[in-house]
């Protein structure tokens, strides 16, 4: 994706924009600033992204913005979920500073999906400021979710085919991840469900109802009459990806710092590599009762934030570094589903203790497979 020229980033396609409902409003209604032929005057008080707080869009799009602030795109709650678990309350302020410098830019506003490219990839209007109901897969979704999800889905990893939903179905991201998911429109689950019950508590993205769920389209899988015997045999013991995903990217050792030369934040990831490992589901729950899931190594390290202070993650072992993953490279036929013993007894594809770094053994106890399922037909 070629970067936009500076002028292109702020160029409005007059005819197309004026033909839309947004084109009927004064620019200053959303952006503030002043009507003036002088640039400096016009830009005084300008709000470049009026959707950053969602309030401007909420004026007309109340349904879409009602629960939006709690969506992960806005709250970035996943980061703090992990940071809080591995850190300690006395480090909160230091980590907030780190977060502001290195993580907060992943915050996504309405405009980051519907008007512009995300700021983290340089920003700029997607279609001359014409609001796009459906975000662009390449210029919005994979602009941020590119190095793992995007490359997997589009088949950009060497010798690894793209996801069958893309290759054969030509499905884009929103085919599965619809507006209600992105806008968190279903957040009002508390209106019907008693969230004091563990079954209805959503503590991370792998608890709570699956959305999207493979079964939403593949309705007969594992059910009576399913022609694929393996689906029936394995039932809910395996996450779909265990049989239908192939190698995906894992990363090690991300460290962040502020450049002494430029004063800008940067990161360095020690290593990235393709891997495929089946491990134990660390948090089986009502919606994901699987015993086995696939695991991706995340780049967290005990020293990831040492630029900001020593030992900021004293409880690093509280969470696995090999984490429950949902790779986006689904295939009907995979090496591990070629036969029973392509998986059973094949210790190369199970995350056993010998494949985990000694210093991460404790953290990964919940996901390490103690004993590989034996080969079938062997004594």
């Amino acid at each position: 994706m070629a970067p936009l020229e500076p002028w292109e980033k702020v160029f409005i396609a007059r005819d197309e924009f004026l033909a839309t409902a947004h084109g009927q409003m004064a620019c200053t209604y959303c952006h503030g600033g002043q009507q003036s032929p002088e640039m400096e005057t016009a830009h005084t008080g300008l709000v470049a992204d009026p959707s950053a707080k969602g309030e401007t869009c909420a004026t007309c799009h109340g349904d879409q913005t009602a629960h939006f602030e709690k969506s992960l795109h806005v709250s970035l709650a996943g980061y703090w979920d992990r940071l809080d678990a591995r850190s300690a309350p006395e480090h909160k302020k230091t980590l907030e500073k780190m977060f502001g410098n290195h993580c907060a830019s992943c915050h996504t506003s309405c405009g980051d999906c519907h008007i512009s490219q995300p700021g983290s990839v340089g920003g700029g209007f997607i279609a001359g400021h014409v609001v796009q109901k459906t975000p662009s897969m390449s210029r919005n979704c994979t602009a941020c979710h590119g190095s793992r999800v995007g490359n997997e889905y589009l088949g950009k990893n060497e010798e690894i085919p793209g996801d069958v939903h893309f290759r054969q179905g030509r499905m884009n991201c929103v085919s599965c991840h619809g507006g209600s998911d992105m806008h968190n429109s279903e957040a009002a689950c508390t209106q019907c469900h008693d969230t004091s019950q563990a079954v209805f508590q959503v503590t991370n993205r792998y608890s709570g109802a699956q959305s999207p769920a493979c079964e939403s389209c593949h309705e007969t899988v594992g059910k009576q009459g399913d022609a694929v015997t393996q689906h029936v045999i394995h039932g809910n013991k395996l996450a779909c990806q265990v049989c239908h995903s192939v190698s995906y990217m894992s990363c090690d050792g991300c460290h962040v710092a502020i450049s002494q030369k430029t004063g800008k934040p940067f990161f360095k990831t020690e290593r990235s590599y393709m891997s495929f490992f089946i491990g134990l589901n660390p948090q089986p729950n009502y919606h994901r009762p699987y015993q086995y899931v696939v695991l991706r190594h995340v780049p967290a390290a005990p020293t990831s934030y040492q630029y900001y202070g020593e030992n900021l993650l004293p409880n690093f072992d509280a969470l696995p570094t090999w984490t429950y993953a949902t790779p986006h490279n689904i295939q009907r036929k995979t090496p591990q589903n070629a036969s029973c013993n392509a998986c059973h007894g094949n210790d190369k594809i199970f995350l056993t203790a010998d494949k985990v770094k000694p210093e991460e053994l404790q953290a990964n106890q919940p996901v390490i497979v103690p004993e590989v399922p034996p080969a079938i037909g062997t004594p």
């Binding site: 620019c27 200053t28 032929p37 640039m39």
Partner: protein, 84 residues
């Protein structure tokens, strides 16, 4: 006769003023803001585009933008290495 003219004029004027007063009362009653709906309605109406929109005049002029637009010096993650 003159007295009669004054009387008719007075009558017409009174009728006219009474009618106006009644209309004003009706209008005032009809548009009296209710506690629930009036305030939000006023803020919900988007401001219409002005006849000459200076913002649009500039941001649709490629040559002008080419001359004025500068690359933002975000430099974000410029020294970063590896997969983000």
């Amino acid at each position: 006769m003159v007295k009669w003219k004054y009387f008719v004029t007075f009558l017409l004027a009174s009728s006219f003023l009474t009618a106006c007063a009644a209309q004003e009362m009706t209008a005032a009653t009809a548009t009296a803001p209710t506690h629930e709906s009036a305030a939000p309605a006023a803020t919900l109406l988007p401001e219409p585009a002005p006849v000459v929109d200076h913002c649009l005049e500039c941001h649709t002029d490629k040559d002008k933008l080419t001359a004025l637009a500068k690359e933002e010096e975000t430099g974000h993650n410029s020294e970063s290495e590896g997969v983000g």
